[in-house]
Symmetry: C2
Subunit: 377 residues, 2 copies
Amino acid sequence: MLPAPRFTAFNPPRRILMGPGPSDVYPEVLAAQSRPTVGHLDPLFVGMMDELKSLIQYAFQTKNEMTMAVSAPGSAGMETCFVNLVEPGEKVIVCRNGVFGERMRQNVERMGAIAVLVDNEWGTPVDPAAVEAALKANPDAKFLAFVHAETSTGALSDAKTLCALAKQYGCLSIVDAVTSLGGVELRVDEWGIDAIYSGSQKCLSCVPGLSPVSFSPAAVEKLKNRKTPVQSWFLDQSLVMAYWTSAGGKRSYHHTAPVNALYALHESLRLLAEEGLENAWQRHHEMHLVLRAGLEKLGLNFVVAEDYRLPQLNTVYIPEGVDDAAVRTRLLKDYNLEIGAGLGALAGKAWRIGLMGFGARRENVALCLKALEEVLN
Amino acid sequence: MLPAPRFTAFNPPRRILMGPGPSDVYPEVLAAQSRPTVGHLDPLFVGMMDELKSLIQYAFQTKNEMTMAVSAPGSAGMETCFVNLVEPGEKVIVCRNGVFGERMRQNVERMGAIAVLVDNEWGTPVDPAAVEAALKANPDAKFLAFVHAETSTGALSDAKTLCALAKQYGCLSIVDAVTSLGGVELRVDEWGIDAIYSGSQKCLSCVPGLSPVSFSPAAVEKLKNRKTPVQSWFLDQSLVMAYWTSAGGKRSYHHTAPVNALYALHESLRLLAEEGLENAWQRHHEMHLVLRAGLEKLGLNFVVAEDYRLPQLNTVYIPEGVDDAAVRTRLLKDYNLEIGAGLGALAGKAWRIGLMGFGARRENVALCLKALEEVLN
């Protein structure tokens, strides 16, 4: 026998999470998650899942029947949208203005579909004119895919305009709302979004590991008319929906649901519904204004122009001569405060300060500003 | 705006989970899971991940470097093994003696590989002679895939013999250990298993949602020599390992880890290491003997012959004239006791009584036997 390792229980400190996610989790969500595990086909549990579905619909502002939480993180939500809708050989216009647009390209190409790239500079939003040019130049494109809120830069794209363009040119839209959901305006039905995915660990302030997704009737139609099977058994939404729908009174087992994580998501979305979506959007905006004023006072410059700056993800340039890692380490060690490093093209050049969900509070903003002031001076 | 639904917090009852999983979760695991969320790149968190990796290695009895937990349930663990190792057009011998062997076939075929089926009757183990015949008849086969402990029937297959056969005929072995890990003898290195996956929610008594996996050096070699990219970005183990390895001191972000669920897995494996694997196997065996004696006294007959019966999953025929659903509903409503329904070919014909991990205790066995006695009489 290989010997048994001996470790003590892991006791993490109470960090204040102001990076790009995971965000500070509501205490109520942590409590909900630790309630006793029940079976994934327990009638009480499937009742909770019905509530959860309508809570996800509310957060997305959609009546889409095919709405659920993928039992895996946002990256799996992204993959769920692509592998269910796109078939090998089909053309997808992929907008790339940060890390997550690039990840979309990888998804599209790995599954044997064709990605037509629309590139925009990091820190800027997706340009609708460039998208329209690509749609015109590619009349055989079937999808337009873009990131609503780029977590790697903090730029917000105009999802409403982009989805209208997709519709105009006969494309289905696939939208990454990992960082936007709950933090800025997002209206799936009104804007005509066809497939959308998000993550539990950003503005929902739930534990990381789940990805709410939703598909419009047009997307469902596309899914139903596939000529090839979905390449992933685990992510095949036609199979998963048989578990998420109690139509006919019977749910079919697909995989064992992450029961406790779903308790947590239910609670976080319940808190969001209690606050009201518009109030949550407003709160993120107000906290951003306070943070912005303070950061500017410290002489820090934003990467993203004000017009399309995300309130929940503030990317600022690291001042000349300042040691990136040393500052973040001091914030973590001395203040238990986590802010995010730059990602991709912004690695070593910027910090990402998150104000997400439960994290978007005055006490967090104040702490962050004071700690930065002390560490930078 | 679509109106906000109003729900109260979900307060599940304290069930006693004696179905096929999720199993009763250790109270310590629920407590660990509700500790404060920290960042997925927090140095304290990645330290915990190093411990977690060595705990998974211990549970699997392996020194495999490529050992980790997939951030999704066991079904995703299955898919991880297939999509990373198998390339389109390659031949896999798939043993099918229950639901999960059939799921393996679906995985293989959806990814464009070829499944050669070896069928054995439900409730019996995989027959090594039939496997050897298939290996002889298919010299171009590159993989042998089978389920160690079939959760749908309760039959245990001889993984040691099957993996030796795979090696003899130049195949890599892919083994489903979702229900076996922690409940019965399993020795990855000694038996020469090349790729293995399990689930958190069976004999580990952790919350559902994670899948420990491990790849032998030969499997890693195959992965490295792929001619095509892994079809799934999310499950691409070469990318994921850059996050699970701190070699060089730097971890690369792949996806946001399910932080709190990993706390839970760390704690459940820590408890297993504390008890000792062999003691845990012995406990499952002893509890099975007590349960078996009681079930036989009640006149219930096992589906699986004694020689290859899983101690942790006891499948018994539903007596003639007894209403399957009514009995399970009464057990749940009156006793808060969950036992499992039959699955696939055994639906409506059998019950599955789990004795998994923390659930394999005298008090659970006693309750189950008394409750069944009262409900059946």
